[in-house]
Symmetry: C2
Subunit: 341 residues, 2 copies
DNA sequence: GAAGGGGTGGCAATCGTTTGCCATCTTTTG
DNA sequence: CAAAAGATGGCAAACGATTGCCACCCCTTC
């Protein structure tokens, strides 16, 4: 017995039933399935519920209905500003739909990610994976256990919201090329990161189109801490410009270049990806691919919820993939190529 | 019936009971209260549980035990970097203790805050309020409904983790005074913000101690968007230095000053509060009061959990208030006072 | 006037655990 | 050796909702 003393036992559906002079089942129906009960009865019940300040117990509801109205959002690092946007987007959309948001930090570990998903599978209606570190096969398997939507991760059979940064890479490269850069480096993010591979792939395509060769350095963990190593590596290649896996790393690079008295953009141009918080006020302000991060979060939630609502009938209205466009935001970190020494 | 087809009905405690040849109650005890059952029986049960990959159903558990093992963390704006730290701290500590973290963005609205707390009170074991917008009275009332811990908010009867920024204000002011500043402005944050009042109060004390008068401008909403207005207001006061409610606002001010070609720190010095992400790489890097934000999150969780665990016996070991010290981090945004024109 | 059919509402089973209470068996103790 | 105490496990009643099924009433409709 949780609360033996009748101190302030929470109001249940039965209390309302008693107050309104009906059965508990009728109360349940009046509240969830209004068409099913007579209008005047319903009103009486609603009045009683209001009067008693009734709040349904979600555990009880979850137990009997099998639906928890809770969605998990998994991010690989809550302190990475990229995810702020995601979290905010999901938060908004989930709240609007009356779902609770469970935030989980997977600490960049695929195992932790899989374990959490497995453990919580019974208490969740679904999950959104931002930056999953899981192998495709594993991801597909988990998608069978629990409804999943990924962000920035393309796996067959798993719906996803994808930010089309690779397309933006083209714009970024054109921008640099038009400034006279020929020697461009790509600073690689984490090895097992899907967006990282996609971005590098896009770089190579641009290079091929222009009969150039771009070099790649890395991989580096995507944090500011990797900045020094990454900056040094870029300088070693002799490139006059670089496109960096993400802004966080790019900002780290900027700091290191400053330390080494390498001028940006005079000596080297830097382009980031994502346009996170800080990209506009670092020094110099970062030219970057502006991504609709919040929107990605919102879209992912919508996709997930629409899957949950359709009662097992695969409505064709929901797309499996939503591609979100990015655009290049030119700021101070890019400029004309330095004349070769 | 949630899952009518027996497709892959989740494993329950009963399945284990059957497999191990005991009663369900014994399984429950073996898993939650190991001392209560014989060692060999327990091992048999654990083996079966492992074999069947049993995961307990939290709703069911919550329903019968009355405890959900879920804690809500309420922040007033998820995109404010200050809260990243809080969220990360709570996240770590909660995960370690086996609790789920429900993230709620109250969008700076006290009503939304109260409503969410009230609605979720049945599905939560407790909540952590970072930057509550609720009046003291309301807060105290809600603390009776559900275990609460606040961060940076001091209300009688509600335990809290408080970052001692006011003490730091003293250091910041001394720093500025030693640089020759006599005319110092305080840039006020949101009006109903408790930390804001505390910081201004600390400013006035320092001023009194030195027989000076500091001016106050604002209030301003705490976002970068308020930067321009705040910067202009500061310039109007003729102050040679300012201490700003928080870094977000300070960074906004920095940007505006740059636009207006006011040099920092030559023409005016700026000190922020919190040392958020970005404070070290904005231009110039911001001198600020470094706050142990993550730690505040962790401490708040510890306080909350210790309250939950002590089975209604008010153990005196838990303090009601934990004060966390800050320190001044001097960077590029402060320098010697300009000679009066 | 009998048969059929919507509209309403109640009964009771069910979801998966936890836990009070009791029965049994084994030890310890005087 | 009897009685008390402890260890162990089962029974069954919660917890608070949802929902299938049935009963009843009141209208139609032929």
């Amino acid at each position: 017995m949780p609360r033996p003393s009748g101190r302030d036992r929470p109001v249940t559906i039965n209390d309302i039933a008693a107050a309104a002079g009906v059965a508990a089942s009728t109360v349940s129906r009046a509240l969830n399935n209004p068409g099913r009960v007579n209008a005047v009865t319903r009103e009486r019940i609603e009045a009683a519920a209001r009067e008693l300040r009734y709040v349904p117990s979600s555990p009880a509801r979850a137990l009997s209905s099998g639906r928890t109205r809770a969605i998990a959002v998994l991010v690989s690092d809550v302190t990475n500003p990229f995810y702020f946007g995601v979290i905010r987007g999901t938060q908004q959309q989930l709240k609007a739909a009356g779902y609770a948001q469970l935030l989980i930090d997977t600490e960049d570990s695929g195992e932790l990610e899989a374990e959490m998903l497995h453990k919580m599978r019974r208490s969740l209606d679904g999950a959104i994976l931002a930056a999953s570190r899981l192998p495709d096969r594993e991801l597909a398997r988990l998608a069978g256990e629990i409804p999943l939507v990924t962000i920035n991760r393309n796996v067959r059979g798993v719906p996803s919201a994808i930010i089309d940064t690779p397309a933006g890479i083209g714009q970024a490269a054109e921008h640099l090329l038009s400034l006279g850069h020929r020697d461009i480096a790509y600073v690689s993010g984490p090895q097992r990161s899907w967006p990282n591979e996609a971005r590098w792939h896009a770089m190579r395509e641009v290079a091929a189109r222009h009969r150039l060769t771009f070099t790649r350095v890395g991989p580096f963990p995507s944090g500011r801490g990797s900045g020094p190593a990454a900056a040094d590596a870029v300088l070693n290649t002799g490139a006059t410009a670089c496109i960096v896996f993400n802004d966080l790393l790019a900002i780290g690079i900027l700091q290191r270049l400053r330390e080494r008295h390498v001028r940006v953009p005079e000596d080297i141009s830097v382009v980031g990806c994502d346009d996170i918080f800080g990209a506009d006020f670092c020094h110099p302000p970062l030219t970057t691919l502006t991504a609709p991060i919040e929107q990605a979060g919102r879209v992912a939630v919508s996709m997930l919820l629409s899957r949950l609502d359709r009662t097992s009938s695969p409505s064709p209205t929901t797309r499996q993939q939503v591609m979100l466009p990015v655009h290049l935001t030119v700021r101070g970190s890019t400029g004309p190529a330095a004349a070769p020494a």
